[in-house]
Symmetry: D2
Subunit: 217 residues, 4 copies
């Protein structure tokens, strides 16, 4: 099965504003040249400016559990959709949400026709979230996020247990994923794709880093 | 003194996406025709698309207390600046912040050269915030927000006490402000301007509502 | 099956301090006289003083997702256990928690031998929570909490759907429960018990209110 | 001037339940023998059980910004007062609060006759808080909390600047305070006392640690 690559720009300096637009275009070219499935998750301020320059799906990194109305400083799903987002990450370890809010946002996303990738730190959290039927559950052991050891190598059991916990919702895995071996291992164990951030966004040469990740370099 | 009009688009359906762009252009025209000082505070997803279409300053409604780095789902000041914002609202009653976060964001805004309008619910909160030296403190009695009775009429003492509490930081007032009498009264009492949301954003004819607010219609 | 009655003292004036101790003793007497299963959930400040005066189980209303250590102002499970609590409510609509925190606290409670009753607002949230295997899931439609119409009468489908969603975890229901008919209906539909707050705590005569609730008066 | 010693039990294992009661009695004996002013800040579950065994003032570590009513899992000021607390810490770096909540709780504490010690991380935050007129402002540079280098030695300028920022509200300082030289230095610089946690609570012999801190051993 073809893996899905979700590239999370976070709030890295390399993933904001003009640099985010350049990075998005680079990843879009790689997707075009190789036929790989790449999704990017960007700052809300950058969604509209990136969407009109790339073919790959552009996701938000979060959306607030509100409907349009008097909510200063909160972002409703309508705002990211109007900006052109086709989905959103949710509940990342850097932005954990309440059960009721994950439930509400996932349901609303389904009604409004956008995708959700909901993060979890372990198979227990992942199992609970899978009951809400997001499009993907992504397990990222928090202690490996941002590091150099990948989840596939350090904690393969997280993937196999995670699969059982979230089935039939497809599973993504993340944290420390940097090489195409990391990806292969994850896919072999049953994952549908990977979540990557620093490995691509902070790379000196993101094009090469992405090509290496997908095994074309 | 010329009053400052801060129009907060909130997350109103009329203040998101295409409708936000139209509304921004309308208010920009009014500012151009009348010479009045108008600032708009919009969704982060809309900043960049509005900034290149208007002359009036575009503010964010909030910015997260983080610096660029691994913070999925949080918006650093750099992101709104890159999108073209020249300032931000902070601590609105719909998004109250911790003391340490108001302190940190106001200081950072000063260093990075953007403006801050920090909201407060009463003169005590306003007084504390004024010590952090934002560009403006805005007092909005929460019980009047979104209603039809203006702070100038219902609670003129909030303005006079607020002035003493925040001096020498200039004071804005808000909540229920809809007519040019509301504005005049506030300015007479010493305020430097007003915060308005539903009165303009939800008006059937925002152009007329804005013209009325500034006393040209 | 014998229903379980969980009486939530909340932060009602009648449920704090000396009045909480009196109320606890009253409910304990009713439990002793009637043989009914009653649990009370009280302020953390009152746990120790109530535990040594009653036979019925005393629960906390919440416990923070921390382990003992440098956490000023947060209450670890060890603190409520030392005070004599035998369980805790969690995720009440007035104190919703993040998925990761419900997961962590429920797991820890199991390891440390205390019970958890985890609240949910609907069958979706309840289903997700049931995967974490708390001792009970309690569904309370937020719009009915504190009102005079019971969930059993106004929304019987919440109970039947809730049962399917949480099975095999036993289900409690709450919100507006005030009469023994409300309880009977809930039990008939398959619930294992009820959550009650204002109906008992704010009653002029809590003893009579409790006797009525269990159908002995 | 006689320094005030505020001993924060946090959620340390040594500061919970039976061990908290023993620690409180030990510190109370030291206060009785030496005439020093010692305050302890304990878990809410322990307030009532400690209050009836000691003479020294017992504080809460936090109180929620609510008034009595339907607030499951939140602790109103009435609950800690009923339990016997004579004051509360607020806004500790491990439990930072919103501006509006510090303002509300400090005002309420004054009305209800209990004391507040409000923490701050630097002189800016401290200055803002001082405007709310708590009984004390306590500055603790977060990076020194729990460490072995005291604020008086590492950052004496925090104390002098803090004093100017909070005047006329008296200033406490904390973070890394372990020796009587640390205390002396702080008092010389103008502080009214110190906040100490691990230095006493985690000491092998808290009695000796306290005696050393006050310079009697």
């Amino acid at each position: 099965m073809e893996p899905l690559y979700v590239i999370n720009f976070k709030a890295y300096p390399q993933g904001i504003g003009k640099r985010a637009i350049e990075l998005a275009k680079t990843l879009d070219e790689v997707a075009g040249e190789t036929g790989e499935k790449i999704i990017i998750a960007v700052q809300p301020t950058d969604i509209a400016r990136i969407v009109d320059k790339v073919e790959i799906p552009v996701f938000a990194q979060h959306v607030d559990p509100i409907t349009p109305g008097p909510h200063t400083g909160s972002i409703p799903m309508e705002a990211i959709i109007e900006a052109g987002a086709s989905g959103t990450l949710l509940n990342h370890s850097e932005k954990r949400l309440r059960v009721c809010d994950v439930a509400g946002v996932v349901r609303r996303a389904r009604e409004m026709g956008i995708k959700t990738i909901v993060c979890a730190g372990d198979e227990y959290e992942a199992g609970a979230i899978s009951r809400l039927k997001p499009d993907y559950v992504a397990i990222e052991p928090p202690e490996l996020i941002g590091g150099n050891v990948s989840v596939s190598r350090a904690k393969p059991e997280v993937i196999s247990r995670g699969l059982r916990a979230v089935s039939p919702v497809p599973l993504l895995v993340g944290a420390g994923v940097k090489t195409c071996e990391d990806v292969k291992k994850a896919i072999e164990l049953g994952a549908s794709g990977v979540l990557v951030a620093s490995g691509i966004v902070k790379a000196e040469n993101p094009r090469n880093a992405m090509l290496k990740l997908i095994g074309r370099m």
